[in-house]
Amino acid sequence: MKKLRGLVTIILVAFMAIGMFGIASAAAEEMTFINVAVISPLSGPAGPWGQTGAPLYDAWLELFNKEGFRVNGKLYGFKHINYDSMNTPEGAAAATKRAIFEDKVKFIVGHWDATFTTVQAISTPAKVIMLTRNGNEAVAGGVYDAKKMPYVVFATPANEMFVNDIKAIVAAYPKYKRIGLADATVGKGVGVDQIDKALAKAGIRTHREWYPQGTKDYSPYITRFNEAGCDIIYLASDPMATMLILKQRWDMGFKHIKVGATGGMLSPGMYISVSGKDAAQGLMAEDGDITLIKKTKINPKYIKMYKDAMALVSKNTGKPYYYTDWTAYGPTHIQILAQAMVKAGTVDDPDKIMKAIRGGTFDTMVGKYTMSGAKTYGSPIVFGNPGLMSKMQGEEQVYLSESPWVPVP
């Protein structure tokens, strides 16, 4: 009898152990990773931007994948595959072909460089969804055609952000006289015309100058800006030009002229080393630090993700990381894609996912906005973004002003 009782006990314990093991196995559910291509310059003159952003995107994605997202009950996450576009048509073509035809990637996220035309020409026929930024030629009326490019999403509205930046600057300096807009001639295009029209419509006084790419001597342009009555010069994302204008206007005695640029600051130290600490004070920059935003509601969970990602990268690189203008790109694009997949009920069907994106509302790192393009299939699909500007104070970037997003009509 004792033996039988002992045997039953052993069998019962064995069954319990198996059962508990089964429960534990069920709890550690396997996540399926979806590959997404990040095609950006990792070498060449634009390389520093791609190289600086990449660790942040990867760190953020690591945090995102801790929770992942569910489509039809199945758990998914994303995996970045980085490709070097070199910011050239040849580099971008090679990178895109490798991503799509060799690595079978179906989604491109975080695209921001000047290779829109090349990447899109390969991704659209392959029905690969491309989340990118607009601006330059990548606008309706330029090379972009919503009907012919049904898989392109302007998840970062760079053109509208430029206008918003200027509005934020005007909010900070309402007594400004005139804003000088400086851009390299490679930036000429329909996008800039649209910006100029929007600024004129908003009643903002501007004067535009173009300079050849790679210019080192900006004294002629600074002199022309001064003669046009400009007390602010704002550049379109050209760090070297920004540093040199910052420095040269100071050396020329035009200390009253404030300088700013889109694209964010890679690091305040870089500007100080080239321009000098005194000259660099007050430098304005587009900022993606969502902890500073006051006038747009950001999900507190995403603010924590931002802080954790920045801390993780600083820890991994062993030095403080200053670059903040990454939130509007990779992370926001991933969030839009994930939420669209959930809504569409598929991770594979690009047409269903695009239908969910078009006109959908998405809660992202940069706020909650409704995507345009709902009313007409042929409309551009453009997301939102808060206009946050910071300025250099000492060796830090501090809050300057904001211009909340205005929906695209």
């Binding site: 070498s43 060449g44 003159p45 390389g47 520093p48 190289q51 001639t185 100058e209 173009w210 300079y211 050849p212 790679g214 080192k216 001597d217 004294s219 002629p220 342009y221 002199t223 022309r224 760090p239 070297m240 540093m243 040199l244 420095k247 050396d251 020329m252 005695g253 890679l266 870089m270 100080i272 080393s273 080239v274 321009s275 000098g276 600490k277 000259a279």
Partner: protein, 283 residues
């Protein structure tokens, strides 16, 4: 009349181009080749002075000399191990063009593509009424005067200078008089590349430093020597002066179109006078 600050910047640009162009013509007149890596030695010279002053704490003037010395050594190595083995002028051109990629790539790998600067060297400006001239620009102008004076002295009052002029004019006759053209080629290559390196070093506090700053001075220096006359040292100086001023003044008057107009003007001048301003006629 353009504003004075435009003329000052034009003079600064001219000084840089004169130094670069002088070095290129010196090499051309002895070796008979155009050194396409000149602009990238300018870039490396800027890096040498950057690290010499910031990492090693070496005074800036010594840093400039170090940059010159380093580029002289690199130039001699290029001559000895690449140019001498490349065969004819076409292959030399291709080889030195290929070296551009090597130098730029190596600089990117070693130093990254981030912009660096030396804004703390000679900060401040000298106020002359309404005009402000930065001490850094004054240093460039002063440096160029010193370099040109030194080159004049070397070429006209030293044995090496005499040998250089002899080989430039009559290489066969010079060798018959016992001048070692091989050894002289190395010396000249060293001097020419040193000038490029020092030009990069002296301008490092004015502009930013990154691996991609070599193209612009290379193209502009090439324009200067073509305008001045290939093979003419005087032409290199005058060509550099003209290009530097034209670039600055035209940018003031016609903005970004200035580069297009500048190149078009050069073509026009060469159509009228193909040998350049000081070059010998082919007829």
């Amino acid at each position: 009349m353009p504003p004075v600050e435009i003329l000052i910047e034009g003079l600064t640009q001219s000084c840089i181009l004169m130094t670069m162009a002088f070095g290129m013509v010196l090499v051309y007149s002895i070796l008979g080749i155009l050194n396409w890596t000149h602009g990238w030695l300018y870039m490396l010279g800027a890096y040498v002075v950057f690290f010499a002053t910031t990492a090693a704490g070496i005074p800036f003037p010594i840093g400039i000399l170090l940059a010159g010395l380093a580029m002289a050594v690199i130039g001699i190595l290029i001559k000895k191990f690449i140019i001498d083995h490349a065969g004819n002028e076409l292959y030399v051109g291709v080889a030195t063009l290929a070296l551009i990629g090597v130098l730029e790539g190596a600089a990117t790998l070693l130093f990254t593509g981030d912009d660096r600067g030396l804004a703390t060297i000679l900060p401040g400006v000298l106020r002359l009424g309404v005009v402000a001239v930065s001490y850094q620009k004054m240093a460039v102008i002063g440096f160029t005067l010193v370099v040109m004076a030194a080159m004049y002295f070397v070429l006209n009052h030293t044995k090496v200078g005499l040998a250089i002029r002899a080989v430039a004019q009559q290489p066969v006759a010079a060798s018959l008089y016992g001048i070692s053209t091989a050894r002289l080629s190395l010396i000249v290559m060293g001097i020419g590349c040193a000038l490029a390196g020092m030009a990069g070093a002296i301008t490092a506090p004015i502009y930013s430093i990154n691996p991609f700053i070599g193209m612009s001075p290379q193209i502009m220096a090439l324009l200067a020597i073509v305008l001045g006359g290939l093979g003419s040292l005087t032409g290199a100086i005058v060509g550099g002066l003209i290009i530097g001023f034209m670039n600055s003044v035209m940018a003031y008057y016609i903005s970004y179109v200035s580069e297009v107009v500048l190149f078009a003007l050069i073509i026009l001048i060469l159509l009228v006078r193909p040998q350049g301003l000081f070059g010998a006629s082919a007829k």
